[in-house]
Symmetry: D2
Subunit: 344 residues, 4 copies
């Protein structure tokens, strides 16, 4: 951490700041420029995490040098993490396509979709039983009945299931049925929920927030991991922007960027990012082209009967088409690029 003193800061300001920092347990180095003095802080910064550094007299700016997350970082673990879900692997060299309806609705549709996506090559099945809806007047999910249908789909197809958990109150029931717990964008910073999940032993897919930064996304992974759970999968679903072409803006180049910062697997959610069926497949394709470890994508055999987000559901034929294209795609491999770079 670095404190930049403003150009008017006196010797006295600098000395007092250093003294206060040392009282708070930090070691410092001072570097005096022609106009401004910079105070570097060495060693463990935990002690300073809650301190009001900006209130020290003469401080102009506080600059972060180290990442505020640890367990999620490449510094902590160099090799890429691999998550194993009942034998289905995700991460490292293991690609994984998760598909299924937005909401679990009827037994017929759920089974039909599960069979179709498995046939096309999906390796996990997704479906929502608890739905975060912007309006209180829309369908809110089948709850436990929905979870049972998911379990039935797993029994039928062998695909592990992924479903969203929205509330601490539903932890037990969701835990009972699901193989992977999904945390949605609106809960990325629901810290009490993240802590509870971190105490469990099931893999978690953590979507980024509505307008979160990469660092905040990693800090939320850290929340979960700090409770003991290691199997966190980051999911990119885009962020809010003034541009309304797509529902969200998703820069898939964040995949190689994240691979530099973290060992955690990274998947892409093209359905929520694009928001309209006709642009979902292309986004899934470029997400995998960027080197993502997988996709989570919504598929429904009859979108006009879907109880939520039918606008963005792929038809089974779309999913077949996408899977076929993906089978011929060579993903970008940023690690290979680094090798090329240093080995010349």
């Amino acid at each position: 951490m670095i404190l930049v003193m403003n150009y008017k800061a006196s010797e006295n300001d600098i000395n007092k700041a250093v003294k206060q920092l040392e009282e708070w347990g930090a070691k410092t180095t001072i570097s005096k420029g022609e106009k401004k003095t910079v105070i570097g802080i060495i060693g463990d910064k935990k002690a300073l995490l809650s301190k009001p550094l900006n209130t020290l007299s003469g401080v102009e700016e506080v600059l972060e040098v180290s990442a505020p997350y640890k367990l999620a970082s490449k510094e902590f673990q160099e090799e890429r993490s691999i998550v194993d879900v009942n034998g289905v692997k995700l991460g490292g060299s293991h690609k994984c396509i998760i598909a299924g309806p937005c909401s679990v609705d009827t037994e017929e549709y759920v089974m039909q979709t599960a069979i179709a996506v498995k046939k096309a090559g999906a390796t996990m099945f997704r479906g929502g039983a608890f739905k975060p809806r912007t309006s209180p007047y829309t369908f809110q999910g089948l709850e436990e009945d929905g979870l049972k249908l998911l379990a039935q789909a797993r029994a039928e197809t062998g695909l592990p299931i992924v479903t969203e958990l929205m509330s601490e109150r539903d932890i037990d029931v969701v835990y009972k049925y699901t193989d992977v717990i999904q945390i949605g964008a609106r809960n990325m910073q629901n810290f009490p929920l993240l802590k509870e999940i971190g105490k469990l032993d099931k893999p978690v897919i953590l979507k980024n927030g509505i307008a979160s930064t990469v660092k905040e996304h990693l800090m939320s992974a850290e929340y979960i991991m700090s409770e003991g759970l290691k199997d966190v999968i980051l999911c990119l679903r885009g962020v809010r922007s003034y541009e309304t072409a797509m529902r969200n803006v998703l820069d898939v180049n964040l995949v190689p960027y994240l691979q530099k910062l973290t060992h955690l697997p990274i998947i892409v959610d093209p359905s929520h990012a694009a928001g309209k069926r006709e642009f979902v497949s292309s986004l899934g394709y470029v997400g995998m082209a960027a080197g993502a470890d997988g996709l989570i994508v919504e598929v429904h055999p009859n979108p006009s009967c879907a109880l939520s987000d039918g606008d963005q559901a792929l038809l089974p034929k779309d999913f077949d088409y996408l899977m076929d294209k993906l089978s011929k795609l060579e993903s970008w491999n940023q690690e290979e690029w680094y090798d090329m770079d240093t080995n010349k």
Copy 2:
């Protein structure tokens, strides 16, 4: 709601769309332009809320005409709501300044602050006992012990208290102590929590989300109100932007804008929006100048010992200065402007 058909849509597409809309329970009107046909939807749109209108063949765009919130709207209630908290009124012509520390820390600081802000003219007291922190390694709040200190401050000063609720699990304990429940930015779309709060009988301050829109803010108020609670106070704390001058960007002109859409009281949180002490007071001042019904502002007698957000805490002398300035300020009155407009 309006469906804009694309310029290639055939007669058949149009007829099929109309038929489907009518099956979903909507009435329609058709207006054919030279290039594009527009289908208007009349009457109750609830039936269409979950329908995938974009999937209808030939549909280019779906435009919303009516606000998706009802109970929170001016259409539903013309006169401005007034919230009464143990005799302290907020809304309509009643201005209310809520002040206190970010986190409840020590008895000494809490009492000292409560007495100071009361003396300066604050009409409610705030303090956090459960804290949403970006990092799992920072102070997370005193929990029930903190609530007890708040209750003690109320006993001492007579000021009603405001504190944040972060989790469904803490509803009972927070309800027991507080006069007003605060929902923070990160929980603005924690729908299960909003529903539970809507079943209670205590006023709620609902902050806008990290990067929420005005409409989403109102929809979250609607979530609470749809469960029965009427006393919702909207709080503006700014939103995320690429500009880093302030912690958040807060356009106080949203105050008159919101007053057009909703009857709910509106307060401004200059502390979280500005993020640095030296810019908090000016923002509080312009928030009130814009016609807000009140402020919620952080004050701490010794910010360098504050356990969170010390950087943005006003000193008691700052708060005195601000209150003095506010006492001489005439707030903008948008209703008066409308009167001037129509009465010419």
Copy 3:
């Protein structure tokens, strides 16, 4: 265009609005909902382009239905445009990689780069002689001397050259040397410059603005085209966001989106979007994966001597690596997707 009247609008308001619209030359249709009335405007809207529709009494909102651009639209021209630059084609099925240094600096570097990128498969050569720099204290370009070096590179390699035009005053000199005129992000809405360029007969690469929308980008193309020039190439270089991982946020899914709206060729600029060399190649790769017609990418043999943007320059070996990867990549083909969709 659609006028949504607010719920309080009287019969009189509606009649007066209709009358005013008709005086302005528009035809209207009225559709009365239960709460709100909607006035549709039919036919040529040119007459209404400058009219203050929001000032009509009772108008709540004005919604655009038709695209405000014409010549650039798919409605105007269904088949994809192909730009021919001295025999090098771009657009339709013709992919084109444009490479070269950010700034033209020395003869040695320019020639070395031109030869290297040609060998790797680039089909045009780029270099800046006039540079838009945020600071007045940085290198501003070699001007005509730079253009001469570019012409020399063309003579040596046969590659057509692309260079940026920043000012109306430089039109003649830039026109004299270049094969393709590039308009940078900061000039996307320099309307006087766009009009002048539209009167010339050389192809234009038009980058999107710092924070422009897709619609504004197309409107700026329209400015050029309305003066007569047809050969406009849209270039995506990302937009500003609060996220600082990359210099800009570039959602390559805008490529298929744009292909729906316009017949113009679309290229991607991964250098300015990523901003750091290590993330440029991956972004170029996913840009082409998304179906772009080409890339414009910065390459310099000795970035630490580059006079601008050395941070983002690829080394020749990086460019070789990227070109090799691209040779094996199958680009997404959104038109094929539409075919799959309708042919079921």
Copy 4:
């Protein structure tokens, strides 16, 4: 400037970076943390402005410590600048309201408006003769005929005039008539234009860009000032956001923020920021409440006949109302706050 080396950087990387920095003319200090080393750069950084610091092996991040602008900064000049336009002062304690139509249209309207705004207390008159319009198919301004009408209004009322300059080609004609040159949002980074204006001797109002940062705004002022002109007035007109409530988002708390960074006068443009008449006055009010040195506001006696931006024009009666309210408003004075702070 500070270089943060990444945690894997070797001794050799650090030594090479220091050597390269010194070759580039910089002095350095090194501060070794437990994980990361930080290289501070001392003294004149001009030499490093164009250097690709990120390309040095082992560099993780480059942090700016000093502001990149000089002449515009408080460090360069402590006392607030006052601009004198034919005896009308702006800045310091001098408040100035600039009003007039968006576009100059007819003699009748121009004279009527000039007389009305003067009577209400405006101290300068504005009007556009060259208009930057998003669509090539809308009214582009009366050009020199418009400037003549402005001059006529000045002759009639004695108010100095302000008009926008869009192109280098129009410098002579605009210079001939106007008292203050206005540079619009779309030209904030038209660097060739800024340089030409800096060579003139007339005050300039420089609006911020569509989505510019405060720093970029100041850098553009620096461009003008580096050519010799001192009289630059910064104008805040809001920036793009995902929020569509207002046309732009304008955080008036940037006024005190800017006052900390620069000595230049700061005015607010509520018309373009709000975009709709009914929200312009409130925004003008809070802009002045925040301590701005003035407003630039659009007024038209018959907005439905205005040739551009009629939607946002105040009526003369609105302007009277606003001026009356402003006469009773005490502006926030951030310097007084600093005095209160240090003098306790």
